[in-house]
Symmetry: D3
Subunit: 61 residues, 6 copies
């Protein structure tokens, strides 16, 4: 019953998310032996002004 | 000190969220013996293009 | 397709979690109009030494 | 490799988030002995109509 | 800078998690154009008595 | 009403977590203008075999 969450910067298209969801679902089913109906994938876009790396907001880099 | 998070598709009204928050808080206090002042409930709407089930974005189904 | 997560201090029994899962699932389906097969509930126990309120670990209060 | 997530009500400025990210990164590196390049900080604004405390939406208080 | 989280039932081996981490990192870099050094993957095992589907703890099914 | 979550590798002592909780609570109250009674801090230890960076489990590095 895997739940997969992906946080990423904005700018990915629906096409890219669609492919990530397809591939991740297929791969986790293959590797961890589950069925696609067990898998949820949730994307969350995080703005550059809401994400800091090494102490700096990405919007400042 | 329960923290309850609820991820759901958009489209629920404030009235529905208000009732969910009331009922969930009352019920967890009754069942798990806590006081309402210990309970936080956080809702997150997830767009259909950000949620995939069985490998397919919900916006594609 | 709600996903409900509940973080709480340890000490709740399986019976209590079972009842919370039943009641929360029934209530969210009633209020937000979904079917039980759409609902996941995930519990996470948080140790008192891993939870701070007002700046103090609960294991210190 | 700490990942720090901060959920808060809207209304904090970029300046405030910038300072929180700087201070939290510096302090966790000092206390837990890591390097800034190991630290991610992610902010999530939660609307008052999506956050309930003591069973009441904050937008109703 | 994607952060990928995977919640699953216990019982997956380190070998399976290793392969999931490798494949997910490679695929998200390919599809979303990032570099492996940008990707964190975090697994969380959820006990069957902490996960309910359709209102029932998985340990009861 | 900030909720702060911190995921880190195991090995930090209770003393280190206590200090992180104190400092983070004080600093966010100072910067974001809230009161300590509004702040929850939750720590989650992530095993090295459950955390991958750049496609590799940390237990393999």
């Amino acid at each position: 019953m895997p739940i997969i969450r992906i946080e990423l910067l904005p700018g990915r298209t629906v096409e890219q998310k669609r492919e990530v969801a397809e591939v991740f679902t297929a791969e986790i089913c293959r590797i961890a032996r589950c069925t696609p109906e067990d898998v949820n994938v949730v994307f969350t876009d995080i703005d550059k002004s809401d994400w800091a790396f090494a102490g700096k907001l990405m919007s400042d880099s």
